[in-house]
């Protein structure tokens, strides 16, 4: 009993939703007897405006310094009660939420007594944790207003312009002598039915960035080193390039390094035969005035022979075991075929393809090409065209599956639609920024769907072809979006993180470096004297580091080992052998639990669930402790793969649970009693089923 701790417990009836099943007065009476509990109140609707103000009064009147709410679910109502205790003058981190509706009354409707017992247990667990709660606070990290844009292609220039428009400083680093990137090699670009010369676009954009007072451009520049984190980067440029010798002070970074064609070495004589070129090389020929004969015919530079037959082969080194669809090859091949036809209509053009990926109004171009007389041959996935040299002309043999027979097509110019890869500097940059990239050198975004221009770490954005091959329009959109993402902290002047963060106690730390390596957000940095430190503004509080730290010297605020242990012990205080100890992640697994509740799916009432932010927070020692205290079984539930709110927490949890099973076996516990499920927020039935299965297999029924 801690003398200075005064816990207030507020139990909600939720009309008859809770009170109709759970004997709330009994729970209230029980709560009154718990250590450190100074005040208990039953409320008809704890979330109603009246009840909330009553709660504030009670907190003040009874000098409560910890609050436990036993009601619906923290996923929807925690923010409301947090605001309320804050208004009562209490630090919101001193609130603990107990779910007795979704986890009790709605799912055990036919067993009111057991439901009441479970509600009591949950309140006891909540109080046990509440006693140990500490004040927390949102953490702010100042962010100034300089943004570094790596890459001066169309995405980078667009991003820089949008950053600069707000009055922030944008610094463009371009490794080439000219801005414009890949567009410098392209003839035209189009969107829907609009078309523009690439040179015009580049010129317009370059004019804008060059004349913008807030934009600094370093051409022929390369990065030597990047140190620091959001709001606090030091970027050193290579001495032999353009740019200042001093390190640049940078707050945010936009990566727009672009892409390049993969040279299709070894395909169809590319590299040795000048008649075999890539799409970009064809575009360069189309831009080259020397390739026009005085008669208007098309020719190779320095040649007097007109080009009469052009064969384009798509998917040359893509859609295979090593690489997927090149994303833009089909529209590019059609565009260039049409350009050849427009140049001289009697040039015969064949496009040999596998699947034509032309979406929405790109079909308009396809129809135009077909009408202009471009011939499309569809070859089988496993039977690529063969090219031979027949008395000085290239002969392409191809099987058309649409006609079911083979053709031989003569060719003066063979154009290969090749795949793309990230810029050569990607390897270097990914090391400098500690981010990841694919084998082809495309950076990995934070989330395929909801974080398309973000990196996991705050303050760095990604746009354009640095992520994957894109068309002009998409690159522009991503440039603007990336500018927005980095502008938010620059506009606010800070970034703020919730108080649920890691804290390292260096007393026992032996600098093993595991935490640094494991952190998905680069929030742990090794600072002076090789000691790890948490950059709290970057930490998301998943707890992966704490669970893995061999010296147990990392604490997660609001989810400390001590607090979780208190919950475990409280859960198993009585009749431990009838209870299933469960750890559920806040984002998906608890969502599934809530869904089972909302759907009124009935399951046996053995589980005592402990909320963690991520399943990766659960250390083996807590699982073991559960078995030591005699739990019938232990459940660890996390997000369904591949979804994880913390990128890879569930993967870390999975490997850890495997280790835990081995450890349990060694120590004489039945590893089969440790369950591990992955449950989406929509999958109430899965959670309910798991409960039923566990009850059966653990002989609890």
């Amino acid at each position: 009993m801690r003398e200075d701790i005064r816990v207030g417990v507020f139990v909600c009836d939720c009309g008859s939703n809770i009170a109709g099943v759970v004997d709330v007065p009994q729970v209230v009476a029980y709560a009154k007897g718990l250590p450190n509990v100074a005040f208990v109140d039953e409320g008809r609707w704890s979330c109603s405006v009246d009840a909330l103000s009553d709660m504030q009064e009670s907190i003040k009147e009874h000098h409560l310094n910890r609050v436990v709410i036993a009601s619906c679910t923290p996923r929807t109502h925690e923010p409301l009660f947090k605001r309320n205790v804050k208004e009562a003058g209490l630090n919101p981190y001193l609130l603990e939420f107990v779910s007795i509706r979704e986890q009790v009354s709605w799912v055990h409707m036919n067993e009111p007594e057991m439901a009441t017992d479970k509600a009591k247990d949950l309140v006891r667990m909540g109080v046990a944790k509440a006693v140990l709660l500490e004040e927390g606070e949102e953490i702010r990290l100042p962010v100034k207003q300089e943004c570094l844009v790596i890459g001066g292609g169309v995405a980078g220039m667009t991003a820089a312009l949008n950053v600069a428009q707000q009055g922030f400083d944008a610094i463009i680093l371009e490794k080439e002598p000219h801005l414009g990137g890949i567009l410098n090699k392209v003839t035209t670009v189009s969107h829907d039915q609009n078309e523009m010369a690439a040179a015009d676009i580049v010129k317009a954009k370059v004019d804008l960035v060059e004349t913008h007072p807030n934009i600094t451009i370093y051409r022929n520049a390369a990065i030597e080193e990047i140190e620091g984190y959001i709001g606090n980067y030091k970027v050193t440029l290579k001495p032999n390039g353009d740019g200042p010798g001093e390190p640049l002070d940078i707050s945010t970074i936009i990566v727009a390094t672009g892409m390049k064609e993969i040279e299709p070495e070894g395909f169809y004589g590319y590299g040795t035969d000048p008649r075999v070129v890539t799409q970009l090389q064809l575009e360069e020929l189309l831009r080259n005035a020397e390739c026009r004969m005085p008669s208007g015919e098309f020719r190779m530079p320095n040649s007097e022979c007109r080009i009469q037959d052009v064969v384009i082969i798509n998917c040359v080194n893509s859609k295979n075991e090593t690489r997927g669809c090149c994303n833009i090859g089909c529209p590019v091949s059609v565009k260039n075929a049409l350009a050849l036809k427009n140049l001289k209509n009697d040039i015969r053009v064949h496009i040999l393809y596998r699947d034509l990926s032309m979406v929405k109004e790109e079909h308009f171009h396809l129809d135009a090409a077909k009408e202009a007389g471009v011939k499309f041959i569809r070859f089988p996935d496993d039977r690529y065209p063969e090219v031979t040299d027949e008395s000085g002309r290239l002969c392409v043999r191809v099987h058309d599956i649409l006609l079911g027979r083979e053709f031989t097509i003569p060719s003066d110019l063979l154009v290969l639609t090749t795949a793309f890869k990230g810029d050569d500097t990607v390897d270097e940059i990914k090391g400098l920024l500690k981010v990841s990239a694919s084998a082809d050198g495309f950076f990995q975004e934070a989330h395929a769907k909801l974080g398309p221009v973000d990196f996991p770490a705050d303050g760095i954005s990604l746009c354009g072809c640095a992520k994957s091959p894109k068309n002009y329009r998409e690159s522009c959109e991503e440039g603007i979006a990336a500018a927005m993402r980095v502008s938010i902290p620059m506009k606010n002047g800070y970034i703020e993180a919730e108080g649920i963060v890691a804290d390292i106690d260096l007393t026992d730390c032996n600098n093993c470096g595991l935490c640094y390596k494991r952190c998905p957000y680069n929030a742990i940095k090794v600072v002076e004297e090789a000691e790890p430190a948490v950059i709290k503004a970057l930490c998301k509080g998943c707890g992966l580091c704490a669970a893995d730290c061999p010296k147990e010297c990392i604490t997660i605020v609001h989810y400390s080992d001590e607090q979780l242990l208190a919950q475990v012990e409280a859960a198993l205080e009585e009749e431990a052998d009838k209870k299933i100890l469960g750890f559920v992640c806040h984002w998906c697994a608890l969502g599934g639990v809530d869904m089972a509740g909302v759907s009124r799916l009935q399951y046996p009432p053995h589980a005592r669930l402990i909320r963690v932010m991520c399943s990766a927070r659960v250390p083996i020692r807590l699982i073991e402790r559960g078995f030591e205290l005699g739990a019938a079984g232990v459940l660890v539930a996390g997000c369904e793969f591949p979804t994880c709110h913390y990128i890879t927490g569930n993967y870390a949890c999975e490997t850890r649970v495997k280790r835990a099973k081995k450890r349990l076996a060694k120590r004489g516990y039945d590893p089969e009693k440790l369950w591990n499920i992955w449950c989406s927020a929509a999958d109430g039935p899965k959670f309910a089923n798991t409960m039923r299965e566990m009850a059966t297999q653990l002989d609890l029924v």
Binding site: D367, K370, E371, K375, D400, L402, L403
Partner: protein
Amino acid sequence: MDGNLALAEKFNDVSMFRTCEQCGCCSSACPITGVNGFNVRQIVRHIELDLVDEIAETPYPWYCTTCGRCEGVCPNGIAILDVIRPLRSLSPEAFVPEGPAPCTNACPAGIDVPGYVRLIAQGRADEACQLILERVPFPGILGRVCTHPCEEACRRGDVNDAISICALKRFAADRAGSFPEGGQDVAGDTGRKVAVIGAGPAGLTAAFYLRRQGHQVTIFEASPKPGGMMRYGIPSYRLPEDVLEKEIDRILTLGIELQTGKTLGEDFDLDQLKGEGYDAVYMALGLQKSRRIELEGAELDGVFWGIDFLRDVHSGDAVTLKEKVLVVGGGNVAVDVALTALRVGARDVTLACLEGREEMPANPWEIEMVLEEGIKVMPSWGPHRITGENGRVAGIELVRCSAVFDDDGNFCPAFDDTREMVEADQVILAIGQTADLSCLESMGPFKVEKDLLVVDPGTRETDFPGIFAGGDVVTGPGTIVQAISAGREAASAMDRFLGGDGNILECRMPNAECRIKEREYDGKREKGFADLGRTESPTLPLSERHQGFPEVERCLSDDRAIMEAKRCLQCDLELALAGRGRGE
């Protein structure tokens, strides 16, 4: 490929075909994809790749039914028939189907089927009937009882179901006035006299056309009334008497003399006719007798023979049946016998035949009617013996027939040991017909093979100059339309014999070719054309069929007839269209 460009100009809009995305919608919808390797998508693919020559030199363009289903489903709105038709006009002669149209080709009488179907579609039933009369004198009769080989040949059957040609013919006949104009003209008197023996379909047809050529024609008929098998062999629930009378009257009013009750060999003979100044004789004697077999108990009271039974019923001879009747036979006559039995008192009729269900020679739609009216069919059973009590039939013992034909396809039934007794009050044996040539014995010797008269296949003449023969008595049992065809051919041959040119055709209706020249036909298919379903004739409800002999099939309504006629693919015009494309 350049050589193709000139050819490609034949296509209205080549670029349209180039926008094909080869999705396979057309070929999936096409009713004949894969039939003989046909694939409409691949035909378009040829055009797309400028391979016009290559595809034009295949027979595929002619496999197309031109139903237009492909066009209706094409997501790119490509008018695919606009590929097919120019290709047809480019295709080598060898692949061009023989004209005028498959239905007409299949018709023994060569009726211009697409022609009259088209007239019906245009609401011109009178003219349709005239067009039919150019080839046959019995539109109303054929419209009811024809076995319609035209429908088997109908290309619409490849799309979904053949056109109800027969029902449309009946519609035209029923809707036309009793004496539509045309087909009734008689040429000036040639001074020649012709005798036709037998007023069945062959005889009447021959008389009709001979009379129209200007010859004097007299028909000698043994029965009291004309019509032959049309009257005595076909029960009147299928062919009402008034229809028969009307159409025979139409023939006779051309100025043909009919003498009934005159049996050859009894009341007159051939020499006598010669003596009376007849220049030529046409013997259309038909097959008047039921085929009989040796069968134990065949002599019992209550055993009838097929044709004889039908004739007796029709003649009004009081034939009343008791409860249970067993009919032996699997042909159309057996079917008619069974259905007639139901109408003269039988309650429980069973049809037993040697053939398996699929091999039965009766037309499928006839068998369906049998089943519909509740007659039990016992396929693969042959009669073994008829059992009797007190001289009356008590039942029949059937024996299982294991095979009807031998390996060479000849009729050679084989039986196993399985037997079955079936109780019956009557047994009717309808196992075939045969000619009664006894009347000729005194006049011969006529050449006879397998009980049938033999004639010269070109001239239709017997060994005796001026004596012609035709119809069932020459060919064996056939259909009415075959008999009509025989009569027409004989009339043509006899006209030549009598000094005419043998041209009995009359083409008064505008034919397909001239329509094409007038560009009335462009082959555009209306949306949903391919999916139009066949309209069958309405039928009398089962409950009303067995009181007497009311006609079972009814005439199509005007709307339905027009709807049905509009389903026609107009193969004749398609052929002409291709010819036009070729510059013909």
